[in-house]
Point group: C2
Chain length 206, copies 2
């Protein structure tokens, strides 16, 4: 049982670290954020669970790697969505929020790890912090452009970015917890637009 799951080649001289990260994401999306065990991840890769400790200090370190990879993927997705948007600064902010929610909906378990366990207490994993910084940078850029164009209300750019993050994250969270009830992905995104529009209106220049 422990050696099921194939992967014939030995990981001697392979990249076990990345193989474990990838397997962790797979297991995560199958079993949910709580069901992840180091032992199953190792088994999925065809290796003893103790082998993981050669590459990750502990289970938290593996989760931090998964979270970091998630934030980098999120940043790429957000940048692409914003660049794809032909409208003005406000339209780009709307696209940002929608792409953010879409990522959370499409990777629920990974998103759960990104925000779930209190990773990075006491500043372990500085590269995780860097990855989060990328996300923040993306909104900030468009908010400044919007302010320069007189479409977004003046004031601290960071505050406006936070508001957008808070609302997008809060929405994704409550959908995951089934407190916002939506039938499917399409409806979830549509309902987000409905709720997000008035919020954005509050962030417009008067």
């Amino acid at each position: 049982m422990a050696k099921a799951g194939a992967k014939r080649g030995s990981y001697h001289h392979g990249d076990l670290a990345r193989a474990l990260e990838a397997a962790a994401i797979t297991v995560l999306e199958e079993r949910g954020p709580d069901g992840l065990t180091l032992r199953e991840v190792a088994a999925a890769v065809g290796v003893t669970h103790a082998a993981a400790y050669r590459h990750f200090e502990d289970k938290t370190a593996l989760l931090a790697a998964v979270a970091e990879q998630g934030f980098r993927a999120l940043a790429l997705g957000l940048a692409a969505a914003v660049d794809r948007e032909p409208g003005d600064a406000l339209a780009r902010l709307r696209a940002f929020g929608e792409a953010y929610v879409a990522f959370a909906l499409d990777h629920p378990a990974q998103y759960g790890v990104m925000f779930g366990p209190r990773l990075n207490e006491s500043g372990r994993f500085p590269s995780l912090e860097d990855a989060i910084g990328e996300v923040v940078t993306i909104v900030a850029k468009d908010i400044k452009a919007g302010q320069a164009a007189g479409r977004v209300r003046p004031g601290r750019t960071r505050d406006i970015g936070m508001s957008i993050w808070i609302f997008s994250h809060g929405y994704a969270e409550l959908v995951h917890r089934r407190r916002v009830k939506v039938k499917n992905r399409a409806v979830a995104l549509e309902y987000f637009q409905t709720l997000f529009a008035p919020v954005l209106r509050g962030l417009e220049a008067e």
Copy 2:
């Protein structure tokens, strides 16, 4: 070690169920949402961990009871805060959001349980659902009053309530995860007001 913690009286004919709930909340706020074990809760009450199963079907059921109690306390706090507010409907909505965030900040671990583990998948714990309903009812009442007074934008009451919930929850979540950086409770509440004001402005009648 297992019998430390005092509580001289036998729980034979006492209310072990509620004693376990109370102990769970204490342990939770000390150890954090992840560090809670059934065994430590039982030990804190002076009972074998197996005894808990006479009162709760499993660990999840105990957590659900903790969550339910949390939602009821939250509803009481929100109702009190709103009633204390002398201003108009919008001021009451602001008071609602602030009281919501205050509760989350003051009971971080319990709040984590209320939204953390995927409790209540497949409709176990219907009374938990009831408790959540109380919270929703409170906002709805004031939104309707605000709409009647022409202060809150017309449209689906539920949507506006959701937006307020989403923003308050999202803020509390990101503070807990240290993604919103604030020095202390007072600053956290003040910063919430700063961010919440423009959002509320978007929900005003035009």
